[in-house]
């Protein structure tokens, strides 16, 4: 039997005395796309950071891409995870091309691919513009370009549709199709069910840090 990409058991996260996640169970199988919906403050972003191994849970246990959440091995699998969070992780004083090239060189991808992926996300004409001078939608596209370069096995998108035009939103579907074809999976977070339901195999609802409901998309 194939090991799940994500397997969380009774996971909890506390910030000081405040519980953010409580006794949460979640499994994402290979090739599966899971939608995660919930109101503001329900713990969606926190859960995504736990899955990205960027935040250690205070309770429970689990594995991500086979690596235990609390072991040293999680550092080795991080490069197989792609996360697009609320705030773009671009360097504002570098151009879109330099930002993409920076990632390409860090992961050992040839520079020639940079032009290809920028072209694919529709940023070929804006490649010499600094990130700080770009709209939110353009910055998002640049992040999609970086994700196309790194080809992660587990894709995590936090409100990735927010502020995107239709063409850019199609990129989300393209990225998801790519990760599925590689045998990977994805977790899509949104507070709007209708944005992610068409893309997801099933949708999980978070309420006050716990899974409230689940079912097919």
């Amino acid at each position: 039997m194939t090991q799940p990409l994500v397997e969380l058991q009774r996971v909890g996260v506390r910030m000081g005395e405040t519980p953010i996640l409580r006794g949460l169970d979640l499994t994402v199988s290979a090739g599966e796309i899971v939608g995660l919906v919930g109101a503001n403050g329900s713990g969606k972003t926190t859960l995504l950071r736990v899955i990205a191994t960027l935040l250690a849970p205070t309770d429970g246990r689990g594995t991500i891409l086979g690596a235990p959440l609390d072991g040293e091995e999680r550092f080795r699998i991080r490069s197989r995870i792609g996360l697009i969070g609320h705030t773009p992780g671009l360097y504002p004083n570098l151009t879109l091309q330099e930002n993409t090239q920076f990632v390409a060189r860090l992961v050992g991808v040839p520079d020639a691919r940079v032009g290809e992926v920028l072209d694919r996300v529709g940023l070929a004409g804006a490649r010499h513009r600094r990130a700080a001078q770009c709209s939110h939608g353009m910055q998002r596209r640049a992040e999609f370009a970086r994700m196309l370069l790194t080809e992660p096995h587990l894709v995590l998108l936090d409100e990735a549709h927010a502020g995107l035009d239709r063409h850019a939103a199609d990129l989300v579907a393209y990225i998801i199709a790519g990760v599925r074809s590689r045998g990977g999976g994805a977790v899509l977070v949104s507070h709007e069910d209708n944005r992610i339901a068409p893309l997801a195999d099933r949708v999980v609802e978070l309420r006050d840090g716990s899974v409230a409901e689940r079912g097919p998309a």
Binding site: L55, R78, I81, L83, Y91, L94, V103, R130
Partner: protein
């Protein structure tokens, strides 16, 4: 190979950002030069006294303003950028080395820019240019490593208030070695001990920075 490639790309990114923002070249260097000019105004036009205190004042200004070079805003990776680096599998130690390398190069430029100002204002008539050519990069390396380590610690506890408390005691041996080397050269005394002290400080800071990089980065999330 990957480690050094990552360190080189981090350094390249930091230097490119500095060239765009001009934080060091257009703010810190002019302020450092002004600080060197203010000291003779405070002391008065006592040429022999200025000649005596000149090298020491130069190193004090390099230390105080050098910390600002190390802590420059343009060299800070914000939370989302740190997440990106983490998820790209960038070794935190490579990030430390890259960032310290970029800071060292900027500090070297800072030292070289302020050198002629100090020579013109204090007329110290330094001797032993060969040793000074060794001393200047060693101080830049020490301060670059120290500043980068302090900035990393500050990020991990989300407070920059601790930086002066960390930097002040650890920079004393560097400042002492730099000033005493210059004095030793002027008086014709042996300076090997002071150069060795600098070398040991540089090595200790490099080891501390590399070993603490991962836990400090994880603590800063």
């Amino acid at each position: 190979m990957t480690f050094w490639r990552q360190a080189r790309e981090i350094a390249r990114k930091d230097l490119r950002t500095e060239i765009r923002t001009g934080e060091v070249f257009f703010v810190t260097i002019p302020f450092g030069a002004v600080a060197l000019m203010l000291i003779p105004l405070a002391i008065g036009t006592d040429a022999p006294l200025l000649r005596d205190v000149g090298p020491g004042m130069y190193w004090v200004v390099i230390l105080l303003f050098g910390v600002l070079v190390a802590l420059r805003q343009s060299g800070v990776d914000e939370g989302p950028q740190l997440d990106v680096l983490g998820l790209l599998g960038v070794d935190p130690a490579a990030r430390f080395v890259g960032r310290a390398g970029a800071t060292t190069l900027l500090l070297l430029a800072f030292e070289l820019a302020l050198g002629p100002v100090a020579l013109a204002l204090y007329d110290p008539a330094p001797k032993g240019w060969g040793w000074i050519a060794v001393l200047i990069p060693m101080v830049a390396i020490g301060l670059g490593l120290l500043g980068t380590l302090a900035a990393t610690i500050a990020a991990s506890i989300a407070s920059s208030a601790l930086v002066p408390l960390l930097v002040a005691p650890l920079s004393v041996p560097i400042l002492l070695a730099a000033a005493q080397t210059m004095e030793g050269l002027a008086l014709g005394n042996t300076i090997v001990g002071w150069i060795l002290l600098l070398l040991i400080m540089d090595l200790l800071l490099a080891v501390a920075g590399v070993l603490s990089a991962r836990p400090l980065q994880e603590a800063s999330r």
